[in-house]
Symmetry: C2
């Protein structure tokens, strides 16, 4: 049984795997030969192209150590009937903390005070507002969105989830379908997307949606950068249709130097870093090990099976 | 019955008082005559000096629309046997949100990303860590400290309260007495003070306490600036004895331009603004009105009675 890792892990993590699964041949260096014999490939996603998969003739299970799978050749994977799992869930803590950090930083005027500190300016007029009593509309109330909702409820924030099905989700006071978004956007002080990139979410938000938001609304994109046309958001920020934006994801990453988003005073840029946590690899290995245990026992009902055709 | 306001309130707030309490003579402008006849004075604190109190010969109740009362002539107030109430509790929401905002901002690298944005630098190495799993030691686990503890527990942070009596406090997993502080400081990732200024808290933290903290500890002072010698904190920040500081209060306010705290890269300055909220006056008037209602009915068991000799 051959397992190929497409990304580096630490020595103690390798030793742990070798010790726990002595019957498995782990390959921590990639080679054509190792890939050809691999039953299992562990990847972050972007390095597993069709040419790589064509070499991987023995492949049965693709473990993607990230949450987004849109960079993988999904139709090809579906056609070959490969089992695919991801690391869904490991992002929820750091991402929800990052989202809350920005919500609170904006409400409690942290960036304003930070700018003034650099000028040694003591100015008590900070215009801070409370997060409590505000309303958040969460696009994509899944694992991460639910964790955001759980924290927001502790802060006394009203939570409205919005998804494809309208299926009730934990930690949302109510959940609406995408089609009803326009009716409800005007209530939200925060509009937060953690939607994945799927055929249905690409371009989901339009110019009109930004117009329907409050003039003071904070729009936060922590999902994927193809949710809307960036030019529409820039226009909304410049014209005052919305108050502020916090962006972790972009149409093009790295965000090109010429993008106006870098310099708009009401836009905060996080370089697709919100899920960063010292515990990332550790947590994805925990999921992988639990699944490998099942796999070795012939159990194919793995954790976090993802559907290449749905995209999540 | 005469009531003098020592600070301006909005027209609709005045009208509301006049409408609700037609039997009371409200004075929204201060004059010697009004003060001389006032049974009740409503103040933020610093304007009520001994000369003012000597003029206020009819005074029975002093309503302080803030939480800290240390600027008032407390021994004089005790001697005259004046009833004093404060606005304890109205700060808890904005202050706890400000504390959480800074804790998350520091852990999730918001200031680092903000600095890089100004240079249009896309750099995913942000060294973010999770708040979850960390330990916070809260000096002064009262109303505000309890609200901080409640929120921290939602984030999975271990909370240790520390007060004079060691009396258990809600939302702290355990509470220790001041004398045991040295034993436990080394466990804390965050050391947060919201202690008032009292004879017992002045100078409570020493050089040794900073030495006992983790090298990565974040020290946060949202109580009063006389808790320690600022020179000791500056030394601890410069020598790396602690990681970072977030300060809302200072020995001298406004913080003098020559203070090194302004420019230390691991120190964040909030200009005594953490309690700011658009709802401040509204909330303190709610407490005042509830108490005035009692007062008019002869009930002297008011909300938020403070002891001038204890200082809180």
């Amino acid at each position: 049984m051959n397992v190929v890792f497409m990304f580096p892990i630490k020595d103690h993590q390798k030793e742990n795997l070798l010790h726990r699964f002595p019957q498995v041949d782990f390959h921590f260096e990639q080679s054509d030969e190792a890939i050809a014999q691999a039953e299992i490939i562990v990847t972050y996603g972007s390095d597993v192209t069709i040419p790589v998969l064509e070499k991987a003739k023995s492949l049965e299970w693709l473990m993607v150590a990230s949450a987004g799978i849109e960079k993988l050749p999904l139709s090809y994977i579906a056609e070959r009937g490969l089992l695919m799992t991801n690391a869904k869930g490991i992002h929820k803590i750091p991402m929800a903390e990052s989202v809350l950090a920005y919500m609170l930083a904006v409400r409690r005027s942290l960036f304003l005070m930070y700018d003034r500190q650099k000028k040694k300016e003591w100015n008590k007029r900070v215009y801070s507002r409370e997060l409590r009593g505000s309303t958040a509309l969460i696009l994509g109330p899944g694992t991460i969105g639910g964790e955001i909702g759980r924290l927001l409820q502790a802060f006394g924030v009203r939570t409205i989830g919005c998804n494809r099905s309208g299926k009730e989700s934990e930690w949302m006071e109510e959940t609406i379908v995408f089609d009803r978004l326009s009716e409800r956007l005007g209530e939200a002080d925060f509009v937060i997307s953690i939607l994945p990139s799927t055929p249905e979410t690409r371009g989901l938000l339009t110019k009109e949606h930004f117009r329907e938001m409050k003039e003071t609304a904070v729009f936060m994109n922590f999902g994927r950068g193809d949710l809307f046309d960036e030019a529409d958001l820039i226009e909304a920020l410049k014209s005052g249709e919305i108050g502020q934006a916090v962006l972790d994801v972009f149409e093009t990453e790295p965000l090109p130097e010429e993008s106006e988003l870098w310099t708009l005073p009401n836009c905060f840029i996080s370089p697709h870093a919100s899920s960063f946590s010292g515990k990332y690899v550790e947590r994805s290995l925990e999921i992988f090990e639990a699944n490998l245990e099942k796999w070795l026992q012939g159990d194919r009902n793995l954790l976090n099976i993802t559907d290449p055709l749905k995209g999540y």
